[in-house]
Symmetry: C2
Subunit: 212 residues, 2 copies
């Protein structure tokens, strides 16, 4: 299926600043729509249902899987995470560029289903900075931070599968960089199909004229 | 082989304005180096040897092929066209982004040899404009123009093989667009290998620390 908008998958180490980046991207540009994932994990303090996630029970989640209502889903740390299909399809058809903020397992599944999707991996400039940001957040125990760093190492094994590696050092610069990568994706032949078809037909007419 | 610079292949219909675009790109930015092709075709009026092309005899050209001195070569309208290898390799290693202005047969051969190369297809906004530019050039007979339009139709069949379709409407905007596509290519994992390797090693150290 061909979409009018670009399907953008954003992954990256926990603590790389994906959330802040995406929030800022939505503020600066109005061509983006952020997909809200569904999860069975417990809400963190202050997390509202339908904003960062749709929180669901395991039973609800498994019913949605059975109804083919998810683009992808995965299990991470004992919880389900998935991307509800309807909203994404609807926004893409309307010409919006839809951002999915998901981890690597899900990203690879999306790329398989939608080869024209744009896979971005967000990383801080170095590992020390990642640790600093995780500690600075102040919401996680030392144990959770250690787990996240170990998980980051595992995730780093998948970086080559992404289309682009985006280094999040200065927020505003990184937002611009992501926007430019999306604009670049719009120039790919898969998104220029109508244009290619038209110029090809015009040239065919001209060639016929030239032969006469 | 991994290069420090980006290998950029620019193709497009004769009359799409590739020459002017590339000249302007070199004027505005200093990270580019234009590869000069070798050809056995006769120089057009005012064409100097070593500027648009290195003009060579058929015998010289075939000797260069035998010596494996070309990245790619092709025969078009009874003449050889090829890309001398030494200059390209040397500039890429020095960190320059090297532009090859070649037609589709050559472009596909380059992509095969160097999968990380960036293939750009330059086109005017429509076929009518292409004809207008070819006629306006005033250097070609009606017969040659007709041949070029027929050739353009054939070439349009290959547009999907390129990474990006670049519409050359306003020169300065198109130069910026090409530059941004090259900057985007620099964010691909194949060009971030050193960065990926480093952060992976750092994270591995952190994970070890966390386990203790």
């Amino acid at each position: 299926m061909k979409h009018k908008g670009v399907l953008i998958v954003v992954s990256g180490f926990s603590g790389a600043g994906k959330g802040t980046l995406m929030k800022r991207l939505m503020q600066v540009y109005d061509n983006y729509a952020l997909s809200v994932s569904m999860t069975t994990r417990s809400p963190r303090e202050g997390e509202e249902d339908g904003v960062a996630y749709f929180f669901s029970t395991k039973e609800q989640f498994e019913r949605t899987i059975a109804e083919d209502g998810l683009i992808e889903y995965a299990c991470y740390c004992g919880n389900y995470y998935g991307t509800p299909k309807a909203y994404v399809e609807q926004q893409l058809e309307a010409g919006k560029d839809v951002v999915l903020e998901i981890e690597i397992q899900g990203a690879l599944k999306v790329k398989e289903k939608f080869p024209e999707s744009l896979l971005l991996f967000v990383t801080p400039p170095n590992a020390k900075e990642l640790e600093r940001r995780l500690v600075g957040r102040g919401t996680e125990s030392q144990e959770v931070i250690a787990k996240r760093l170990a998980r980051a190492y595992e995730e780093s094994e998948g970086m080559e599968a992404y289309d682009y590696i985006v280094v999040n050092d200065v927020l505003e610069e990184c937002v611009e960089e992501i926007h430019r990568l999306v604009e670049a994706a719009r120039r790919a032949p898969v998104r220029r199909e109508a244009f290619i078809k038209e110029i090809r037909e015009e040239l065919k007419e001209f060639s016929k004229g030239a032969e006469e």
